[in-house]
Symmetry: C2
């Protein structure tokens, strides 16, 4: 018998047209056990209110997206970024998730120094990791596809993410593996094994790779099964490395957002069962 | 005294609005000693005619772009691809360049097997490398940015390109390092050193990385100095690795193509002297 949706989690951004109560109701109706949430809609609806909504619906909050953006050079901007990440950690704790996903940040204006930016992330993590651990929250560094290296995330590979994470205890800092970001990388399988050995596989997300990419390249992720990624093979890799947690589907896609959210949710759950189980 | 434009080469695509005679005249006028050519405009103007035009203008043809697209599964398509690459090698020889740049090709329709595609490239190179060597042509595998992995080039890193190249003698198969494709990769400096040690640095191209990327992501390369890449640092890396050849500037950019080509050529030469010398 298939495990069905037992480990499925829908990231809120996939169906961002749904309000939080609509999302909770649709998940209950479809037998979806988990959701990944984003800070902005949670703040808009209310933090405590969201936590109660999810508890009442029996939904696990699998991750909170997202902290990070830790590459600023300006000292005031750096203090603000660390403060904002402390707030994100507090929010994660209230929501009852154990994982805050970090998108590290791009190059500051005018800088061409990727190495320096990565060093500043490490410095910020040294402040944030113990703060998070004290609240039961693990930080999950998400490498983003290299096409985002300048403007969003200077951490482009799992190897780079693990180099950063391993400066800290595994219970404090690990990685988030998203197929969309790592699928092209022939070093990623070995890095997934490395993460598993170290107990640092903190989150796993699915999205498919489709072309042509849209302007700005942010909102062109493909529905599972419609693109170039062998999703089942990547899932097998994380599981061989010891991952037994939720499998979150996170699609940023204008076409999906233009359709009724409940329909997209059902379709996504079906695509997950067909292509990733 | 600066070396000025002594090693500069303009890739034809940067100023594709210029006809070949216009390009030759503009280069002569600006003191530009080299050009990288593309097969399609050369074929349209005439192969022998182009060769004569470049010889008469005293212009070095630094590369021919491009061969490759060697990932097909269908046997007929594979034979056609190898034949077409033989033709490209013949054309390169007539043009008097020693280097044919290879863009390896993406995933065949419906395939999700990057590893298999890379293996088929190796098989095709086994046929092409000796054919090229017999005509004095070196093949230069160009890793393309991972955002092109599915639809254009399954070789995404210098490490992958060198893994392929090293199956053959260095005089037959090497790599083309283009800053636009490798700048995000913290492993690239070590791979440039590896390529240099092996005598496999066959071509070096510059373009800058600017965002937002346009739809389709192909034609958004930045003018030198306008983006995130430390071009001088990358040039230093290839030179420390022993590269002393031409430095070719290859920009695909709709904005540049919409302007008078002569103006773009002068501007690009100036940007090269300011940001890459």
């Amino acid at each position: 018998m298939s495990e069905g949706l037992a480990r499925f989690s829908i990231n809120q951004m996939t169906v961002k047209q749904l309000s939080l109560p609509e999302l909770a109701a649709a998940c209950t109706e479809s037998g979806i056990p988990g959701v990944g949430l984003w800070r902005e809609p949670v703040q808009a609806y209310g933090l405590e209110e969201t936590a109660k909504l999810m508890r009442d619906a029996g939904l696990a909050v699998t991750t909170l997206c997202r902290g990070g953006f830790l590459t600023a050079i300006d000292p005031h901007a750096r203090v603000r970024a660390v403060d904002d990440n402390r707030a994100a950690i507090d929010e994660a704790a209230v929501l009852g998730t154990d994982t805050l996903v970090l998108v590290s940040g791009g190059l500051p204006d005018g800088s061409k120094d990727l190495h320096g930016a990565r060093s500043r992330i490490a410095e910020a993590l040294a402040e944030l990791a113990p703060y998070a651990a004290a609240r039961g929250i693990r930080l999950a560094i998400e490498p983003l596809h290299p096409m985002f290296a300048s403007d969003r995330c200077v951490v482009s590979t799992l190897a780079q993410a693990l180099d950063l994470a391993e400066l800290f205890p595994a219970a404090e800092v690990g990685v988030c593996v998203d197929t969309y970001h790592v699928w092209w990388d022939d070093q990623a399988p070995a890095q997934i094994a490395r993460a598993g050995r170290g107990g640092r596989l903190h989150a796993f997300q699915l999205a498919d790779w489709v072309t042509p990419l849209p302007e700005g390249v942010l909102n062109g992720r493909g529905q599972l099964g419609e693109g170039a990624i062998d999703l089942r093979a990547w899932r097998a890799l994380v599981e061989e490395a010891g991952y037994a947690g939720p499998v979150e589907v996170e699609l940023f896609n204008e076409r999906l957002w233009s359709r009724p959210g409940g329909q997209v949710l059902t379709e996504t759950a079906g695509a997950y069962e067909r292509h990733a189980c």
